[in-house]
């Protein structure tokens, strides 16, 4: 592993922007293209937002964003210790949302899958959710 960082922050919605800015700053170490950078920022924004609104709902908790760099591959792991996902396959379907009343679009996981090369989701009901995403950047 060439580099790593781990960020923990409160599940406040004004930390969503902070967290994706951190992800972008970490990715900047690899001198990504503007497109790669905006893909990473968006994917991380989705995962962090999910941790905040679905993981914790109204309770207080910490969200964790880990970043790892290995060659041109960058990996982000977003985790919460919130309520967990009952049916991961269903949750990852495009347009599925558990919170239509909040005007959620159900496109979060689809965006993460489209913008990153791979995504893995692990979740324990009542224990929390971990989303691991990685992307190999173009050689520059």
């Amino acid at each position: 592993m060439d580099n790593m960082m781990k960020l923990e922050f409160l599940n406040k919605s004004n930390n969503e922007r902070f967290a994706r800015t951190v992800a972008a700053a970490f990715a900047t170490i690899l001198d990504p293209t503007l497109e790669e950078l905006s893909e990473i920022k968006t994917a991380v924004s989705e995962a962090v937002t999910n941790a905040i609104i679905h993981g914790y709902e109204d309770s207080t908790g910490m969200v964790c964003l880990e970043g790892r760099i290995d060659g041109r591959t960058i990996e982000f792991i977003v985790s919460d210790r919130g309520k967990g996902i009952e049916d991961i396959t269903q949750a990852m379907q495009p347009l599925f949302t558990g919170k239509p009343e909040m005007e959620r679009s159900g496109m979060g996981f689809t965006i993460m899958e489209t913008f990153m090369d791979s995504i893995e989701v692990e979740s324990v009901l009542g224990g929390g959710t971990t989303v691991k995403m990685s992307k190999t950047l173009k050689d520059r």
Partner: protein
């Protein structure tokens, strides 16, 4: 976010700035819905020229407003989304139900 009303056309123009995420979306939604009621506007133009980032929370905002405006008998038009914002819009299929154009002038001709 800035808003202006073009009264004789019943158009509310919403100029978004910086980044539209879940945190911002909560406010944006409320403000637009209140303003639609207050002004009796039935058309909504999202001016995205200065919006540099949007995630899926923005999709919810756009589709939610689209549903309201449709009931009022009006339409929603999006102006000048930057590349990242455009990709999110297209990924969600919003461009199939909402018109996108390059200038505010064009948008006002289309309502």
């Amino acid at each position: 976010m800035r808003m202006k009303l073009i009264g004789q056309m019943h158009v509310l123009v919403v100029e978004m700035e910086e980044e539209l995420d879940h945190h911002i979306a909560q406010n944006v939604r409320e403000i637009i819905d209140k303003e639609l009621k207050r002004t009796n506007a039935i058309n909504l133009v999202f001016d995205f020229r200065n919006l540099s980032f949007m995630d899926s929370s923005g999709i919810g905002v756009i589709i939610g407003r689209y549903k309201i405006v449709k009931i009022l008998g009006g339409s929603v038009i999006i102006v000048s989304p930057q590349p990242q914002v455009r990709r999110i819009i297209e990924m969600a299929g919003i461009h199939k139900i909402i018109k996108i154009t390059n200038t505010l002038d064009n948008a006002l001709k289309m309502v």
